[in-house]
């Protein structure tokens, strides 16, 4: 039996687009740079040559207006995907996305539908700084009418993007830029991963680590380290923030009794708070210790690489949090940075820029 095909997360995104563009003539991609020579971090490369610049369409530097155009096109029979190379630019379109698209079905009494995808890149590193790195998934997850997904694996990236494009509601699709180069098994052809259920990335019985997007990768590394000490952590990949599969988390907490939430965003009023609140409301009796959050420090992202080690939460922070909820003594080794590892780079081969 041949081993499953492995491709990168970025290639999986491109495959999802190619699959949808080929299957459905109403699918159209818009976004600054979707047809540029870099191909949007490689995720859309040369799709415009294959499907035409009418369907893989560069656009004016007008995020709000173009989100409205995408909404109007969605209302009028198309399935547009609007792409932002940084989530920060999507904030220019909050009226069109949150006040218009998210409400359109509801406020017109269920008579309309908005099959719209807003795709944005989030994440850290290489000097993204205060205005190129915001992970504001909690903003969107606050809004009824939107769906918010942030897959962590190439398999889910392709399957959830196809599901998002085929969905009849507006979907916010968030990709952490450090995931793009990671590889994993990805089926060829068309398949979907439902928008909603969590994924158990690793089973364990001592503690539940609920993680999102790139923090799933860090959580799995933390779980590996802890396993070497005999501590089996369950890692739940919260790959969809809205609708949120609270039930699977509750079940996990009833098994483990302990919860650490890892979110590459700020803690205050964020998704990590929502997850802990949900568990506190529904499974308080299952908790054997107070839950912990592993999130960003409460300040904007500094650019200097010298501040990366203290800014970005990583596996060591998650391991340390697990020790706390298990009432174990701290281990100074958790936060050691191995020689040669640079925390503002997604992998050793990377030499910038994004």
């Amino acid at each position: 039996m041949t081993p499953p095909r492995e491709i990168s997360y970025a290639a999986a995104i491109r495959e999802a687009f190619a699959t949808c563009l080929a299957r459905d003539p109403s699918v159209v991609l818009m976004g600054l740079g979707v047809s540029d020579p870099k191909g949007f971090f490689g995720t859309t490369i040369n799709l415009h040559l294959e499907f035409g610049e009418d369907r893989v369409m560069d656009m004016p530097c007008a995020e709000a207006g173009m989100t409205g155009v995408a909404l109007g096109a969605a209302v009028n029979g198309m399935r547009p995907v609007i792409n932002h190379q940084r989530l920060d630019f999507a904030l220019l379109s909050m009226d069109q996305l949150c006040t218009q698209a998210a409400k359109w079905r509801y406020m017109f009494g269920g008579k309309e539908r908005v099959p719209l995808v807003m795709r944005a890149i989030i994440g850290r590193g290489w000097g993204q700084g205060p205005q190129h790195s915001q992970s504001l998934q909690s903003w969107f997850a606050h809004i009824p009418g939107l769906k918010v997904v942030m897959p962590a694996t190439p398999h889910d990236a392709k399957g959830m993007l196809i599901a998002a494009i085929e969905d009849d509601d507006p979907v916010v699709f968030l990709e952490h830029r450090w995931l793009h180069h990671l590889t994993g098994p990805v089926p060829e052809g068309h398949y979907t991963v439902p928008l909603g259920p969590t994924r158990t990335a690793r089973s364990g019985d001592k503690v539940t680590i609920a993680a999102m997007s790139y923090m799933v990768i860090e959580a799995l590394e933390a779980a590996d380290r802890l396993a070497a000490e005999g501590i089996e952590a369950e890692v739940i990949d919260v790959r969809c923030l809205r609708p949120l599969d609270r039930e699977s988390l509750i079940q996990s907490i009833w098994r483990t009794g302990r919860l650490v939430v890892a979110d590459g965003a700020w803690a205050s009023a964020g998704m990590s708070a929502e997850l802990i609140a949900s568990i506190s409301e529904s499974a308080f009796g299952a908790l054997k210790a107070a839950p912990k959050r592993v999130c960003l420090p409460d300040c904007p992202t500094p650019t200097s690489p010298s501040l990366a080690a203290d800014y970005y939460p990583r596996a060591g922070h998650i391991a340390a949090a697990v020790r706390e909820v298990l009432d174990l003594p701290p281990n100074d080794a958790d936060l050691l940075v191995p020689a040669g590892v640079e925390l503002d780079k997604p992998n050793p081969a990377f030499t910038g820029p994004f």
Binding site: G65, L71, A73, N76, Q96, R105, M107
Partner: protein
């Protein structure tokens, strides 16, 4: 006189010039015989809109319509004239002051009145209210109150039609203040870039809530000149002359339909009643009684009726019969709305998502 008024339209200039003088007689050119039928139909359309809105105003104090209402009384010619130049399958969107556009485009009166009453039979099932009107069967694809927000969405309707080869024109109704929003400029740029079949119909009534033009826009250029700056074909004129509006809109629709790109239409007009609500607000100090009276003299309904009379084409008996029929229709719509059920509480969260 501020330049934006001087260049806006004859009507606006006339109104401003006469604001301090006494009575004025608007120009009443005779109606060509080929247009008598159109004029009669425009008069009826405007009268129906006004009677509906006056009925809303009269009954608002009953506290049954528990939502903001923005009346277009005085501005009927723009809605009636533009929509009469459209085909039934053409599309339209609007903003907060949308009753007139909805009705002129053929929107369902019963569904509109029921929506304003928050009833399950409303065009949004009670989720929207006066500021969220929709009637897909009539090609009226929505109105929302966030200023300027439907301009890009309507642009997207036209974009989808062009992409899919559907021969149809979209009209985005907007007010003068919406031209100050960023999405207005973003949309015009995109529409011209892709030569989309859309008409941006701007009703310039000189006020955004209580803020006059002088605090919002420079007096060194007219609104339609902004659109011209984006490369659009622009037309402008007297928004209180239904026949003139119809002629401009027909011209705009013809060129948009012929694939010649978007057209911007600026129509000078004026709202008589308060910004939001059924009342009058000349006493609160943001505009003068004189200005109001000057515009009131430009009443689009009275003017068209006089021109039809002058052309010996106004049948007072037939008109009275029609008005009576409209009033019966309105009374029936209100009675039906007040008797209609409210949405079930259990349905509160329906329609948030497709599956719900």
């Amino acid at each position: 006189m501020p330049r934006h008024l001087a260049s806006a339209s004859a009507a606006a200039a006339l109104a401003t010039a006469t604001a301090t003088s006494t009575a004025m007689t608007p120009m009443t050119p005779s109606i060509p015989s080929a247009q008598l039928e159109l004029a009669t139909s425009l008069l009826r359309s405007m009268e129906r809109i006004r009677l509906v809105e006056e009925a809303i105003a009269d009954r608002y104090s009953r506290q049954q319509m528990r939502c903001p209402v923005h009346l277009s009384i005085g501005q009927e010619a723009a809605a009636a004239g533009v929509c009469a130049a459209l085909r039934a399958d053409d599309l339209a969107m609007s903003g907060h002051r949308s009753h007139a556009h909805y009705l002129a485009k053929g929107g369902n009166l019963d569904a509109m009145i029921a929506e304003m009453h928050g009833r399950a039979t409303g065009c949004c099932g009670g989720r929207g209210g006066s500021m969220h009107l929709i009637d897909r069967a009539a090609g009226f694809l929505g109105a929302v109150p966030i200023v300027g927000s439907t301009i890009p969405i309507a642009t997207g309707l036209a974009f989808a039609d062009k992409q899919r080869g559907i021969q149809r024109v979209t009209v985005a109704f907007l007010g003068d203040a919406a031209t100050e929003e960023g999405v207005f400029h973003e949309s015009l740029n995109f529409a011209q870039l892709h030569r989309l079949p859309i008409i941006y119909a701007c009703e310039n009534n000189l006020y955004s809530v209580y803020s006059p033009m002088r605090v919002r826009q420079p007096d060194t250029r007219a609104i339609h000149q902004i659109a011209a700056g984006h490369g659009l074909r622009t037309l402008h004129g007297d928004g209180n002359d239904a026949l003139a509006v119809h002629a401009l809109a027909s011209d705009a629709a013809a060129s948009a339909r012929a694939g010649e790109g978007p057209v911007f239409l600026e129509l000078a007009t004026y709202r008589w009643r308060e910004h939001c609500g059924p009342g009058w607000d000349n006493h609160i100090g943001y505009r003068t009684e004189e200005e109001y009276l000057a515009w009131r003299a430009l009443d689009p309904i009275a003017r068209l009726q006089k021109r039809l009379t002058d052309a010996h084409a106004f049948d007072a008996t037939a008109y009275a019969t029609e008005i009576k029929a409209i009033q019966v229709e309105i009374d029936r719509a209100f009675a039906a709305a007040e008797a209609a059920p409210f949405p079930a509480n259990a349905s509160m969260a329906d329609h948030v998502y497709a599956a719900a």
